[in-house]
Amino acid sequence: CRRLTEQEYSMVADILCEFLEVAIHLILYVREVYPSGIFQKRKKYNVPVQMSCHPELNQYIQDTLHCVKPLIEKNDAEKVVVVIMDKEHHPVERFVFEISQPPLLSIRFSSPLLIRNDTLLSHVEQLLRAFILKISVCDAVLNNNPPGCSFTVLVHTRDAATRNMEKVQVIKDFPWIVADEQEVHMQEPRLIPLKTMTSDIVKMQLYVEERTQKT
């Protein structure tokens, strides 16, 4: 057993960010944060997904993930959270992607190049597909959101990862700020686990926290 190499981490980050982008779009669609008119059906991981066509929204999501990626590479991101907030900017729902390292790299991948093998990648793809499918049906277990919601993305970092982020922010002109207590705190949250995956390269689970009284 061994740890992942830097190269492999960057690959993991690539895979995850790609997935997060799809997931965020889909969440915004499923939870009706934006009108369904701005979404278009595409295919990803061999299943249909909804992606926004709104250039500014897309850019925002991309920029966000661009900053998240280096954190994932360094294993600094503990959680990536898509927060849906009501008109008063109080969170009503939180989609939490909790990312951690796999328990150990199994013996099968003791050679660094083996991680690139196709069976692994297709396995990971299958797992990610399961996430997407879960997201697309999550409205069944969630209560409806009040009208006029907006969203934001929060990243929970491990320790003092923010300092290292500043460089990237300057380059991209896309600053991150420490989240307000108001945006983080939710009254009487209820937790709905959606999906957990444990693959050889990453361990991730998605759960939703929902405010008990949404309106």
Binding site: P103, V141, E188, R190, L191, Q205
Partner: protein
């Protein structure tokens, strides 16, 4: 309060105004005092009398009145009632009813405000809601009234320690550095052991009576000051004075003016404890090794181990000599006739020494026999002056309320009456007293001063710890001479399963008891009582009838009549709290209890306790006499003389205490994952200095728990964890009165070792062990160069020193690592064993292997040849758990570099079969009661271990001296880095397996057992930690479905219990609770 400038100015102006007004008011009124000097009140809301009136009163009596509340300056908040939101806001502040002020003025002095508090810091009202700390213990099935927290191996005496009473004055006059705190906590526990009396006197004394007696015993005030002997069961004095402490104390006291000296001694002693902390890192371990009371409390474990040892010795020797048994045989032979007639199916004997401490204490002092005698640290004097800061009568009241009467009485009159009499009585507790003393109303656990009033003739006997140990060991030896079916309950209390013995020897129980008692009497000089019955409960109840110095056999036909009239509180596990609850239901005797239905009891006390009660009151008890016990937790705590002044002192103390825990863990060969910090914090409003010197006084008990990433026995890790917890609790270190650290979720060699033994007999022995010796003897020569080594690859991501990537140098070095493995291999699922190359394995060894195994090994060679790689890992996949991470053993050889590997996915021989058979046999069988079926499944892992160890031993050369004889130290890293296993329920990892398991459980059993429920909770908790909420969700939903469907309402209760527990953990981990549809 923003805009601080203005407000500050206004507040100070108001203060000035108050100061100006005060003299004027005083002048006007005439009557004034300074009762309230140092008190600053703030009146919140409507009060009776009004705020204005209170302001005036404060002016008159030297207090301050704040118009605006200030957290730093205001000392008391006065209110008649507060809305909930304000209670929240003022959490932790002293909120007091205005009667405190009026009553204080009436009394002419500042009354303690404890009883006037509107509410306490902790939830619940201060007095009425108090419950004993033991409640949880009571609810348990244990027949010991209190289970000891602090467990430690029995240490035989390293140095002789003498019991002496250190006078307080003496300690203040320069010797305080040598005084070591003693846990007062261990005292009540040992008291509880010797008899089931209450900690505190039950009947409040009528003041007149007290007065009379105190006048008789202590006519002059001079004797009052003389008798200032503080309650100090000190552990160790290295000072020269300690031997003649008594004489010193008398000379000193004569010259001691009380209050100021006491004051200084208080501060200096608190300083000294701090100094000690800094000076000696080993203070705590020293304290524990010296505290004899603590040792007594740990003896039970020691004796349990002694019994265990007896058993293992007998196993080895194949038989033991039973001196007592032989004597019995002779006895029977002598009177051959009548003994045959008796036929007792099962007979439990409960042997209990009669007032153990006393009878040991006076066995060489015949002049004290038949006199009222009490064992206590106090040397006969019953009175001590009050130390400043201490407020005994408040505590007295508190305890009285807490333990005896739930009715609040008018506090002020009571307080003033109490004040005169009991304030200065000695608070040395009586550990044990003779029957003569008991007749006079003295009870164990009573304070000595009080007892002396009840029984002026009372003689005190000092502790004699060496003698206790000697006598106790003697007693155990005597009993072991009869049988080894012994369960040690304490140093003076033993359960014996006499069934086989009686059948073997053909003697009746009464004769056996007689023989045992005569033996004990002869060899120890102390009396023992023996109760006998067909089960543990009846034996214990019979002992009550047998005492003192007698024996009683409760025949099964008498049971009904006997038990019907017993008060419920005489049942084990029914303490004062439950007794009160039952009394509220109108249940006083066991006969009453028999009228209550099972479901009613279960509703009221929970499924488990309810059932226990239901059975107990009918004289039913199916607990076996257990001579082997598994440890659930390791802990160390101290609540004596804990006075910190700074945070780093507390931290330092915690570190030291952690080291003590480390020591104990290592002694027991255990590591734990859950660390709990328990603290006692001075209750808000309780006196700063408790009445008992160095004691903890009135406290709130708080506890915080943290899960470590992996099991540990490292004191450092534990210390970091608990220090974090302490900070998280945000307490004033000054208010800490007791600190304890407990480590749970233990894993280690003990239990595994036992399980292995069992399993070995069942399956593996037949499989492998039988063939091993022949293989060895045949092949001495060829084995010479064979090597073997084992590694335990860590499943954590941490780098491992013995990872397969590294070349493994030698044989002898690695071997111990293998020996280490069974210790923590519970968690492993699959084995991967590196197979030596064909040239290295002796053919005959191979032939000795079962066919399928041989096939696998051979297959591994062919594959290896094909790949031209030296792959020597054989992954034995166990059916039913295909996707579990596998790791355990490797057998590398150094002649070839290793690298790739191959996997054989054949179900290993008998293994698969054995396992399946095993599972079928033990999985959730409704027939078997007593042991948890789920727990038994853990055996599978152990089976795997045994298997793997035999694999290894097959490849191992025994003739090579370098391998067989040398066992160097076990590499630390192997023991410390234990991989966290995938969460599993009774060995099942796969979701469908778990569902099957749960379904079987729910459908086949009408009543879930607590152990099983806890296993499920544990599994759910593991899932949360493993961040697998999805599966948790699925399993909870599944359980909800099947359990709530079940006809038995117990199952829905079980589900609620599981869910509640899971929600708590989820709440801790995620700050929210699961949404259950």
């Amino acid at each position: 309060m923003k805009g601080g400038g203005y407000m500050a100015a206004k507040v100070s102006k108001l203060d000035e105004q108050f100061k100006l007004d005060a003299p004027r008011e005083k002048h006007k009124e005439g009557a004034c005092s300074s009762i309230f000097s140092g008190v600053a009140i703030y009146v919140n809301g409507y009060t009776e009398p009004s705020a204005d009136e209170l302001r005036r009163l404060m002016m008159l009596h030297g207090g301050q009145f704040h118009v605006y509340y200030s957290r730093s300056k205001t000392t008391h908040i006065i209110a008649n009632n507060l809305p909930n939101s304000k209670i929240q806001e003022l959490k932790g502040e002293k909120v007091i009813r205005p009667e405190w002020i009026t009553d204080s003025i009436k009394a002419g002095r500042l009354l303690p405000y404890l009883q006037y508090m509107l509410y306490a810091k902790q939830k619940g009202l201060l007095f009425p809601g108090m419950t004993l700390r033991q409640t949880s213990e009571i609810a348990g099935p244990s027949h010991r009234p209190l289970q000891l927290n602090a467990r430690q191996k029995l240490h035989l005496p390293q140095r002789s320690i003498q019991a002496s009473v250190l006078n307080h004055e003496q300690s203040s006059s320069g010797c305080q550095n040598n005084s070591v705190p003693v846990s007062s906590h261990s005292l009540p526990q040992s008291v509880q052991h010797t008899s089931e009396s209450h900690l505190l006197p039950k009947q409040p004394q009528t003041p007149n009576q007290l007065d009379k007696i105190s006048n008789k015993t202590h006519p002059s005030p001079a004797s009052l000051s003389l008798s200032y002997s503080s309650v100090r069961l000190n552990g160790s004095h290295h000072n020269a004075f300690s031997s003649d402490a008594a004489s010193l104390s008398t000379t000193n006291t004569a010259a001691t003016p009380d209050p100021p000296a006491g004051n200084s001694s208080f501060s200096s002693s608190s300083k000294s404890s701090a100094q000690l902390l800094e000076q000696t890192g080993g203070l705590i371990s020293e304290f524990y090794s010296h505290s004899r009371l603590h040792q007594i409390s740990t003896w039970r474990t020691g004796f349990s181990e002694y019994v265990n040892e007896l058993h293992s010795k007998r196993k080895v020797a194949g038989g033991a000599c039973f001196a007592g048994k032989d004597r019995l045989r002779k006895l029977v032979a002598q009177r051959h006739v009548d003994s045959q007639a008796i036929n007792v199916k099962s007979c439990i004997l409960h042997v209990d020494m009669d007032c153990f401490f006393v009878s040991v204490g006076i066995r060489h002092r015949p002049e004290l026999k038949g006199k009222p005698v009490a064992v206590t640290s106090n040397r006969g004097q019953a009175r001590v002056p009050v130390r400043p800061g201490a407020n005994p009568q408040v505590e007295m009241q508190y305890y009285q309320r807490k333990y005896t009467n739930p009715q609040p009485e008018s506090p002020d009159s009571h307080a003033s009456r109490m004040h005169q009499e009991t304030a200065s009585l000695s608070m040395a507790e009586i550990a044990s007293c003779s029957y003569e003393a008991r007749q006079a109303g003295v009870r164990n656990g009573m304070f000595f001063g009080k007892a002396k009033q009840l029984c002026p003739m009372l003689q005190s006997v000092p502790y004699d710890f060496e003698a206790y140990k000697e006598v106790a060991l003697n007693m155990y030896e005597i009993l072991a001479g009869y049988t080894h079916d012994i369960e040690a309950l304490s140093c003076d209390e033993v359960l014996i399963d006499g069934s086989t013995l009686l059948a073997e020897v053909g003697v009746n129980p009464d004769d056996l008891a007689k023989a045992i008692r005569a033996d004990i009497r002869e060899k120890t000089g102390c009396c023992a009582s023996v109760g006998m019955g067909s089960n543990i409960l009846l034996a214990r109840l019979a002992t009550r009838k047998a005492k003192p110095n007698g024996q009683h056999f409760l025949k099964s036909e008498e049971v009904d009549d006997f038990i019907r009239d017993l008060p419920v509180t005489s049942l084990p596990g029914v303490g004062p709290v439950m007794g009160r609850k039952l009394a509220a239901m109108g249940v006083r005797s066991c006969g009453d209890l028999q009228q209550v239905s099972l479901s009613q009891l279960q509703k009221k006390f929970g499924p488990r306790t309810g059932q226990t009660l239901f059975r107990f009151c009918r004289g039913l008890d199916d607990r076996p006499v257990r001579y082997e016990k598994e440890r659930k937790s390791v802990s160390a705590e101290m609540n004596y003389n804990i006075r910190f002044t700074k945070v780093d002192e507390a931290e330092c103390f915690l570190t030291n205490l952690s080291m003590e825990v480390q020591k104990r863990l290592q002694e027991a060969g255990l590591r734990g994952r859950r660390v709990t910090l328990k603290v006692m914090v001075r209750k808000v409003g309780a006196p700063v200095e408790p009445a008992k010197y160095g004691g903890h006084g009135i406290c709130d008990n708080l506890a915080r728990t943290v899960m470590l990433a992996q099991s540990t026995d490292s004191g450092q890790l534990i210390a970091t964890a608990v220090i974090k917890l302490l900070h998280a609790m945000k307490l004033q270190v000054q208010d800490l009165r007791g600190v304890g650290i407990q480590v749970q979720l233990l894993e280690g060699n003990q239990s595994v070792r036992q399980d292995c033994n069992v399993l070995r007999k069942r399956s593996i022995k037949d499989l492998l062990l039988g063939q091993e010796p022949s293989a060895k003897s045949n092949n001495r020569d060829t084995h010479q160069e064979k090597t073997s080594s084992t590694t335990v690859p860590s499943a954590s991501s941490l780098p491992h020193p013995l990872s397969p990537a590294e070349p493994v140098p030698g044989t002898s070095k690695e071997q111990p690592a293998f020996r280490q493995t069974p210790k923590h291999s519970r968690s492993r699922l699959n084995l991967s064993i590196e197979v030596p190359s064909p040239s290295q394995v002796d053919r005959s060894v191979l032939e000795a292997l079962p066919a399928e195994l041989r096939e696998q090994v051979e297959q591994s060679w062919t594959k290896r040849d094909g790949k031209q790689n030296n792959c020597r890992t054989l992954l034995l996949q166990i059916p039913n758990q295909p996707d579990s991470p596998g790791i355990v053993l490797e057998l590398p050889n150094f002649s070839q570099p290793k690298n790739p590997l191959l996997q054989l996915k054949q179900p290993g021989v008998g293994l698969g079969r054995v396992k399946r058979r095993y599972k079928r046999k033990n999985a959730i069988s409704p027939v078997k009661k007593g042991a948890s079926p789920l727990k038994k499944l853990y055996g599978i892992w152990n089976l795997m271990n045994v298997f793997s160890s035999h694999m290894v031993s097959l490849f191992q050369t025994e003739t090579d001296p370098s391998t067989s004889s040398s066992h160097p130290d076990i590499p630390e890293s192997v023991t410390k880095l234990i991989a966290r296993p995938a969460p599993a329920l009774a060995g099942a990892c796969d979701l469908t397996d778990i569902k099957t398991l749960l379904r079987e459980w729910v459908t086949t059993i009408t009543e879930p057992m607590e152990e099983d429920i806890l296993q499920v909770v544990k599994y759910c908790t593991d899932l949360i930690e493993d961040k697998d909420l999805e599966r948790l969700d699925l399993i909870i939903k599944y359980m909800k479905r099947i359990m709530q469907q079940s006809v038995e309402s117990v199952w829905s209760m079980a589900f609620d219990f599981i869910l509640d527990n899971v929600q708590v953990v989820v709440q801790q981990a995620y700050g929210s609770t699961l949404k259950i549809a």
